[in-house]
Symmetry: C2
């Protein structure tokens, strides 16, 4: 499977637009889970996140951008549904593209760093 060896270093990107306007892997993953499950609480559950925390993140995301990234209907039998809006899809797409570009451009530095790692870290 592996060529010479695996690249195990995982690059995580966080964009900080301001103290309350940060977009990182957690919020991106939450958007993806909401899109997949149609529910904020189910998305949070899949990420091991409390209902309250998932809602807070959604509220932060919705306040951060010009239009809401997630629209929800509260109050259904199962707590209402939620969907990622076109704006949400666009933001998520941008973030994932940014991440991929960073990974591509940083591959050689990542490999250099990995060469300097302790054997123990390689072994697992």
């Amino acid at each position: 499977m592996a060529k010479d060896r695996d690249i195990t270093g995982e690059l995580r990107i966080r964009v900080r637009f301001g103290p309350d306007a940060i977009l990182g892997p957690g919020k991106a993953e939450l958007l993806e889970h909401i899109a997949a499950t149609g529910s904020i609480s189910a998305a949070g559950r899949e990420m091991g996140m409390s209902y309250k925390r998932a809602w807070q993140l959604v509220e932060t995301l919705n306040a951060m951008f010009r239009m809401p990234l997630v629209e929800s209907t509260r109050g259904g039998a199962r707590g209402g549904g939620a969907q990622v809006t076109p704006m949400g899809q666009e933001v998520l797409g941008c973030y994932r593209a940014l991440e991929q570009e960073a990974r591509d451009s940083g591959a050689s530095q990542l490999e250099r760093l990995q060469d300097l790692l302790c054997d123990m870290s390689d072994g697992k």
Copy 2:
């Protein structure tokens, strides 16, 4: 000063090699402060970090790579001195290069994201 407008989005990179092997902006900054001050405690102070926390981060960094990134002499009158080793300089250089490459490659996505931000976030 600004052209059309400022790019305010700040990209922060974290490389995760394993659960206890993470390199991010905090550790990189700590290394720079140690190099500048010649002291782990002074470096921590400049970052608003406790003495204990700064030492823990140094110990984590030293255990993470094949050779120590910081060498310290404990027990002097001011708690001993510390210096960033050639290995530390190399790791730091790699990390900063990775960061710069990610910023360069991600500039257009970052600008797209910024266009979608709420006006409030632009205003500050």
